[in-house]
């Protein structure tokens, strides 16, 4: 991809970061703040959502688009961990104080002003992700900033405290039905929105990382998926596009560059169309059912479709030759842009357009001639073919017409979904601000001066300062400390240091590398609690176990969550041994392997060390074993000579 001159392009980015808080219960009901993973739901509930009239008596465009999708909504529910609040059958209870205090702390760390009287608002969602049709949300803080490494301050517009939406379960996704699981619904969440102060993709990545680190230095949920980031991107003459679902920090620069490319090329298309002096209103030409004419087509899947009763429609788009084929970003043409929107709204799988290689579809020259004749396609035009049910095609035609007409305007405002390859796809229309209105079911919530004062006096250090401090102090890379924070282990690390100050690197290795390796082996390492770790490192401190035993105890606990560390240690026969006992063991090994020693001399050290460790692993430090073995061998060899 070309290098962009971001300044010249007028790049503006903003971030929206969502982070679940780690309060014991949910924000507006007292259900546990616990995801249920893959556990089967106890019952399901089918619901419908309808757009509601807005204040001017009209419907929000984004809501109508959702409604047009005509999707069924099924809620997957549990009998024990959700209540009638989540299924929209009971009004909200008091706002969770613990969650509110965590959010205040975050607000203060972001140098922002805490709102003294919060008003709960409702934000409409029609995709079904919230059973009542709106999310309860409130502004908790305003006008703060986060400082980047180079000293640049990125403004924080607002910090909202709100409920998380239900969790979409993709696994059972059937046609035309959205499945949502209600365990996630109502979990307290903060949404941090920056001002559009970011002018460079790498700066955006750094800002997202700093915000992430800052959030993870407070009592937030520190598991996969508990933090979600969206980026807003716009360039001069373009539009603010919201990109949702950015799962990794490293995706950010790529996503922004691709979005710049998309907007840039859409603006070029607009200029091209303007130059050609085309009439927007007349851009859609003939629209015809050409199933009969193309019954005998040599394109197999079309012929088969028509035979099975599907309709083939063609439409002529005047003056659009070569536009559908124009690449907007990598492997993504204007045609892709139109077809993915068609797919999302009408359910139609895709479309064929004349900028594609039609021979590859199996169309003959004759077929193409018939299509062009019937639709009256001129050299400068483009035609589009749709195959499907009449109702789907009608919806699709509507989508195409709107999108084609918008090509004259430039970049349509949308919410787009981030894809792993750095591209994005249409998710939904950008919601208008009008979908936010006061919640009439709740009273204003006061953040008392005294509460704020109390939290202010206990604010932690900024994580980037901690990273610098620790990496110097423990002579380790900054990356490692960062990893500790992002794996949620920083606090535990600090605690374990108190119990076992001897070897900070060992603690870090156990929490990061060992844990990761065990997880990769399919071990349930979440069975190991903070208390277990404390116990393991206390045993180490009191020399009851050797450092090799740490991994064995972790494995033991992962496999047997019902056992105590003490019991696992006993099972593993990990009582530590004295140096005398060690020497006895070493001597007996040497005796057994006398011949080997005679042949290989010191090269026998390796295999013998292995034998020794088999017997003493975890009971005594390997370094001690190695030293003792070496001494014993040297002595024996001396004797032999």
């Amino acid at each position: 991809m070309d290098e962009f001159d971001y300044k010249e392009l007028g790049l503006k980015c903003g971030l929206e970061i969502h982070q679940q808080l780690n309060s014991e219960t949910k924000l507006f009901c007292r259900c546990p703040n616990e995801l249920q993973g893959t556990r089967e739901p106890d019952f399901i509930l089918r619901r419908e959502m309808r757009p509601v009239l807005g204040e001017m008596g009209t419907y929000d465009k984004a809501m109508l688009t959702e409604y047009e999708k005509d999707l069924d909504i099924i809620y997957e529910c549990y009998n024990d961990v959700i209540c009638t609040y989540e299924i929209d059958e009971t009004p909200p209870f008091m706002c969770n104080i613990e969650a509110r205090k965590i959010a205040i702390k975050i607000g203060l760390l972001l140098n922002s002003n805490i709102i003294k009287e919060m008003h709960v608002c409702r934000k409409n969602y029609l995709d079904g992700s919230v059973p009542c049709g709106f999310q309860r949300t409130m502004i908790l803080a305003k006008d703060g900033y986060v400082e980047l490494e180079n000293g640049k301050k990125i403004g924080i517009d607002i910090l909202c405290l709100e409920e998380d939406a239900a969790r979409r379960t993709e696994t059972e996704k059937k046609e035309k039905t959205n499945f949502f699981r209600l365990d996630r619904l109502g979990i307290p969440l903060v949404e941090v929105t920056t001002k559009p102060d970011i002018n460079d993709p790498d700066e955006c990545r750094e800002c997202a990382e700093r915000l992430g680190l800052l959030l993870w230095s407070t009592n937030v949920k520190k598991v996969l998926g508990s933090i979600r980031q969206d980026i807003n991107v716009s360039i001069k003459k373009g539009t603010r596009i919201e990109i949702k679902g950015v799962q990794k920090l490293d995706w950010i620069p790529l996503l922004i560059n691709h979005e710049i490319s998309r907007q840039y090329n859409l603006i070029q298309i607009k200029e091209q169309l303007t130059q050609k002096d085309l009439n927007k209103q007349e851009s859609i030409g003939e629209i015809k059912d050409i199933s009969n004419q193309l019954k005998e087509t040599s394109c197999k899947f079309i012929a088969k479709g028509i035979k099975s009763g599907k309709k083939l429609y063609g439409l002529n788009i005047r003056g659009f030759n070569k536009i559908f084929g124009k690449e907007l970003m990598e492997n993504y043409r204007f045609g892709t842009e139109v077809s993915s929107k068609v797919k999302s709204i009408s359910g139609l799988k895709g479309l064929i357009h004349s900028d594609e290689n039609l021979k590859e579809y199996g169309f003959s020259e004759k077929d193409i001639g018939i299509i062009k004749n019937t639709l009256n396609v001129k050299k400068e035009d483009c035609f589009v073919l749709l195959l499907g049910k009449e109702t789907e095609i009608n919806k699709a035609l509507h989508v195409i017409e709107n999108r084609v007409k918008y090509a004259f305007e430039g970049v349509p405002p949308e919410t787009r979904k981030a894809l792993e390859n750095g591209n994005t796809e249409f998710l939904r229309e950008l919601h208008g601000g009008a979908r936010l209105y006061p919640d009439t079911d709740s009273q204003p919530i006061i953040n008392k001066d005294q509460e704020i004062q109390e939290i202010t006096t206990h604010l932690p250090d900024y994580p980037w300062k901690i990273i610098k401090k620790y990496s110097t102090k423990f002579e380790t890379e900054e990356r490692v400390i960062k990893e500790l924070i992002f794996s949620g282990y920083l606090e535990l690390f600090e605690t374990l240091l108190e119990y076992y100050p001897d070897n900070p690197t060992l603690i870090i290795t156990s929490l990061l590398e060992t844990a990761t390796a065990l997880r990769r082996d399919g071990k349930q390492i979440e069975n190991i609690t903070d208390e277990d770790y404390i116990e393991i490192f206390s045993l180490l401190k009191s020399k009851e176990i050797g450092k090799e035993a740490v991994e064995d105890l972790m494995v033991g606990k992962a496999d047997n969550p019902e056992l105590t560390i003490e019991a696992i240690k006993d099972n593993l026969n990990l009582e530590s041994i004295s140096k005398d006992e060690l020497n006895d063991i070493i001597n007996s090994i040497i005796d057994k392997n006398f011949n080997l020693l005679k042949e290989q001399k010191m090269r026998a050290m390796g295999p013998l060390m292995g034998d020794a460790m088999k017997q003493v692993r975890g009971k005594i430090d390997g370094a001690i074993v190695s030293k003792a073995l070496k001494n014993a061998l040297l002595e024996k060899i001396k004797e032999l000579n």
């Binding site: 509930l45 089918r46 619901r47 419908e48 959502m49 309808r50 757009p51 509601v52 009239l53 807005g54 204040e55 001017m56 008596g57 009209t58 809501m63 009638t84 299924i87 929209d88 059958e89 009971t90 009004p91 002003n113 709102i115 003294k116 009287e117 919060m118 008003h119 608002c121 409702r122 409409n124 969602y125 029609l126 059973p131 009542c132 049709g133 709106f134 949300t137 409130m138 502004i139 305003k142 006008d143 607002i158 909202c160 601000g433 009008a434 936010l436 209105y437 006061p438 919640d439 009439t440 009273q443 204003p444 006061i446």
Partner: protein, 452 residues
């Protein structure tokens, strides 16, 4: 001046007044560290004083503490004046003619985004904007009979409503829907059941448990279901509301056997002691029972006289003679007890009961268990109460018994006649037999059963 600063008090009000600021003014407010711009909102009079309430540009509302305000400046005004666009409700030749009577509930509405207030949609055109499917079921006319909160319902309104229904029934109309708040819907449905003699068309009560400004509202489906029942052959007073928490089907409940059973569930209404008359789903009706009145050519008469001096007393362990004496002293003509168990009150209040009956006050016994018949021959207390002259209310729900007694005493002041009327089945309030699935019926069982 009060309206100009609705809800603001004390120092806040003084400050705003001094700056000549009113509700809906666009303000710039500076505090120590922050700057706000937004519209000054009216404030709930029960909210804490010492704050001003703004709707910010991003549409969030916030309250700013008076003490923190350093500077406040008026830069414009934006008053909210909204109306639902009137679309014309399409009239289709040959479709049933339905009248929707309004009582003040909001079956359909749209929002005032600024205050969160719900603005009712009521004219056919407004309803068509909100629930266009109605036009596929019927032709619609609407009449606002009165506008009250459901909890403020009173017998006088029942009379007005019954008169209006009779007028509709005796005109060319094919059915009536009544939009009603759910709190007292069961009382009103019972009242109209007793008051409307020889009813010739369906009278369908409808409401909603989730207000219609939310996308998950039950109102649109309830309206469509109710309209469907209003065009049916069921010439009875019924309540049609959702039958499950899912947006699936509505149940048709007889007006004298139905009760609101949950504070907030969508399927709050349940038929008590029997199964619902039927269900309505996707604009089709399926009956579970056969003993309902059909559409007919009789003239509907509204017998609306009602005795308001009737008490409904919940029997409890602390009930005293004094409490009963109060009603007797105040000239009450009837008392309904929601008795314990099979229909009991404490023997400690026999004195007051004896006095009431001596003064020809009718005492009617029902049970606070809601389900089942009273059985006053089983225990000595029951037998003693019967002996005192207490009338057993059979299976009647306490509220229905209260409405019936008021209506009966409106029809006659003769003690004997009243007693006779009370024990007559007027509007399906009595059941002959309680079928086993009536208690805890569920839809799967109902669908399996033959009509009863």
């Amino acid at each position: 001046m009060t309206e100009k600063l609705k809800g603001y008090k004390k120092e806040t009000k003084t400050l705003l007044n001094n700056k000549n600021i009113g509700i809906w003014d666009i303000l710039k407010v500076k505090t120590d560290k922050a700057a706000y711009q937004g519209i000054l909102l009216p404030r709930n009079e029960y909210s804490e004083s010492g704050f001003i309430e703004l709707k910010l540009k991003n549409n969030y509302n916030v309250g700013i503490k008076l003490e923190e305000i350093k500077d406040i400046e008026k830069i414009g005004k934006k008053e909210a004046k909204y109306k639902i666009p009137e679309k014309k409700f399409p009239k289709t030749k040959g479709f049933p003619e339905i009248t929707l009577l309004g009582t003040g509930g909001t079956v359909a509405s749209r929002l005032d985004y600024t205050t969160g207030a719900v603005i009712p949609a009521f004219t056919p055109g407004e309803l068509f904007s909100a629930v266009p499917e109605l036009a596929e079921v019927c032709n619609l006319e609407t009449i606002m009979v009165f506008e009250i909160l459901s909890e403020n319902m009173k017998p006088q309104y029942w009379q007005e409503l019954a008169d209006e229904v009779a007028k509709q029934a005796n005109s060319a109309k094919d059915g009536v829907m009544i939009a009603h708040g759910t709190d007292t819907m069961g009382f009103t449905s019972a009242a109209l059941s007793f008051m409307l003699k020889d009813l010739n068309i369906p009278v369908v009560f409808v409401g909603s448990q989730r207000s219609s400004d939310r996308p998950s509202s039950d109102a649109p489906m309830n309206l469509i279901n109710a309209a469907t029942v209003a065009t049916s052959n069921i010439a009875e007073v019924v309540i049609v509301m959702m039958g499950s928490s899912a947006h699936d089907y509505g149940l048709i409940h007889r007006g004298t056997l139905v009760r609101k059973m949950h504070t907030s569930y969508r399927n709050t209404f349940r038929t008590i002691d029997d199964i619902p008359l039927g269900m309505v789903k996707n604009r089709k009706i399926r009956m579970f029972k056969d003993n309902y009145n059909r559409r007919n050519d009789k003239k509907t008469i509204a017998l609306t006289d009602f005795e308001e001096k009737v008490a409904l007393i919940y029997s409890h362990v602390g009930l005293t003679n004094e409490e009963i004496d109060f009603y007797i002293d105040k000239g009450y003509k009837g008392i309904v007890f929601a008795g314990t168990g099979l229909g009991h009150v404490s023997t400690r209040i026999y004195d007051a009961l004896e006095r009431a009956l001596e003064e020809e006050i009718i005492v009617l016994m029902t049970s606070q268990t809601l389900h089942g018949f009273v059985g006053m021959n089983v225990y000595s207390t029951g037998r003693e109460l019967l002996n005192l002259g207490v009338i057993p209310g059979r299976n009647m729900i306490p509220e229905v018994a209260y409405v019936k007694l008021g209506w009966v005493l409106g029809q006659t002041s003769n003690f004997k006649e009243a007693k006779a009327l009370l024990t007559t089945n007027i509007a399906g309030e009595f059941i002959d037999r309680e079928i086993p699935i009536a208690y805890n019926y569920n839809i799967d069982q109902l669908l399996k059963n033959n009509k009863v």
